[in-house]
């Protein structure tokens, strides 16, 4: 377990969370180097296919972060996104596919400290859960056998 270092793909909204991550860096808050940041115009730009294909490509966790409700640069983008993420989470829970691997957060541009904290906690949680084996695409011989029970 000690050698496992999770990889996280983070979709950060350009206006709040990306600036929050920047602030964490500028104010020299240490946080784990597990993060790979993808800058998106708004949290509502993130689609389920993007999240799932990040996991498919081998990420151990996906962090989606946007502005606080009411602070969205596009006024209501994050409120639309919230509904979608809620439904996505319910769907993933239903098919038993580790919804803990996908985290959602509202982080504003002034919350650099909090950004570092979120990343730290998410990384710790993923260290506990272990590497992503269910979602990751590896070449397999057919017929496929269910390996997780």
């Amino acid at each position: 377990m000690s050698t496992f270092e999770p990889k996280i793909v983070a979709f950060l909204c350009n206006w709040c969370s990306y600036a929050g991550a920047d602030l964490a860096g500028v104010s020299r808050r240490p946080y784990p180097p597990s993060l790979r940041i993808v800058r998106v115009p708004c949290s509502s730009r993130v689609t389920p296919a993007m999240i799932l294909s990040a996991l498919k490509a081998g990420a151990d966790g996906v962090l989606v972060s946007g502005c606080h409700p009411g602070d969205c640069h596009y006024l209501t983008g994050n409120l639309f996104a919230r509904r979608r993420f809620f439904m996505l989470r319910k769907l993933l829970e239903f098919v038993g596919l580790e919804p803990e691997r996908i985290a959602f957060a509202w982080i504003s541009a002034s919350e650099g400290d909090f950004f570092a904290e979120v990343v730290k906690e998410f990384t710790d949680k993923l260290r506990q859960i272990g590497p992503n084996l269910k979602f990751r695409k590896v070449l397999r011989r057919e017929p496929f056998e269910f390996p997780y029970l």
Partner: protein, 322 residues
């Protein structure tokens, strides 16, 4: 012959004679009793070909994008009228373009529930009883024994949107609309994952019949056809199947009207509708939303509420408790 078939033919003749519509999109007799064919009926004489599609679970509105510049009538059961409402809300067609004849739906039947299917020569539907003629004998089944799973979970069998409605009795609305979902929710997360892999992901050959049969999957280019980025791989790797099924279900969240076309079209008989029903259930419980009941209210993802559930989102405020 089914009494509904007579009613449909009579109504079709009347509509074509009186000119409410120039054509009628309806099911006609197909090569086997289980496979009625969709056709565009344009003259009163042709109306003799129309049948009530007892065993076809396909939604005729799938063909809608192919019909152009002709005022068309359609026989709409509950699910078809709800599909229409969603399509109209999504600006895929105008209300005036289509003449809707409501049909109180007695429920469609599932061919997979019949034992010894290949021998059957002729099928007769009479009210609550279904007769199957084989070479030797006539077998009788009760309608409710053969109803499709989606029809058993149908909450609105009567059409909600129509220009006129045929007389008749429809199925009683289901009291256990989400029984299949709730059964699975009782299981543990691992068991559900096993169910999902065993029943859907692993056997799926990804023929995309479920997508093509869905009247609401009308995108000119589906996300599975994209090659840059290529969301879904080309082989039937389980992870690609998984991604396809989850995203397909999600694209229908708040739109799916529970018509069951996907399940009826699936050559392997996979329970695809369960994923959609889960999302229908969540939309109903958390947002009191049901797709296609009227033309005014916005679609689930076209609107938002300040008070939407957000306890799954991490914020600094919630962490400090202030």
């Amino acid at each position: 012959m089914n009494s509904l078939t007579f009613k449909l033919r009579e109504k079709a003749r009347q509509i074509l004679k009186e000119g409410q519509a120039e054509a009628i999109l309806a099911f006609t007799e197909g090569p086997t009793p289980f496979k009625p064919r969709l056709a565009l009926i344009k003259s009163p004489e042709e109306a003799e070909r129309i049948v009530w599609p007892g065993f076809s679970g396909l939604n005729p509105l799938t063909l809608w994008p192919k019909i152009k510049d002709i005022k068309t009538a359609i026989f709409a059961t509950g699910c078809i009228s709800r599909t229409l409402a969603v399509l109209i809300k999504e600006k895929q067609l105008e209300r005036e373009e289509i003449y809707v004849v409501g049909v109180p739906c007695p429920g469609l039947l599932d061919p997979q529930k019949i034992p010894d299917k290949p021998e059957i020569k002729k099928i007769d539907e009479k009210e609550e009883k279904i007769f199957f003629e084989t070479q030797k004998e006539t077998k009788v089944f009760l309608r409710r024994e053969l109803l499709r799973e989606t029809c058993l979970s149908c909450r609105h069998p009567s059409p909600t949107l129509y220009d006129e409605i045929l007389e008749g009795e429809s199925l009683t609305p289901s009291k256990i609309p989400f029984s299949r979902v709730e059964e699975l929710e009782k299981l543990s997360s691992e068991e559900r994952a096993y169910w999902f892999f065993e029943k859907i992901v692993s056997p799926c050959i990804r023929c995309y019949a479920c997508r093509n049969a869905c009247p609401l999957c009308y995108c000119p280019q589906c996300f599975v056809d994209d090659s840059r980025p290529q969301w879904v791989g080309k082989t039937r790797d389980p992870i690609d199947n998984l991604l396809y099924h989850l995203v397909r279900a999600f694209h229908l969240a708040g739109r799916c009207v529970n018509c069951g076309s996907c399940e009826a079209a699936c050559p392997l008989g996979l329970p695809l509708q369960v994923l959609n029903q889960k999302l229908i259930k969540e939309a109903f419980e958390n947002f009191t939303y049901e797709a296609g009941l009227d033309l005014e209210s916005p679609l689930l993802f076209d609107t938002y509420d300040e008070k939407d559930p957000d306890d799954f989102i991490v914020t600094a405020k919630r962490k400090t408790g202030g």
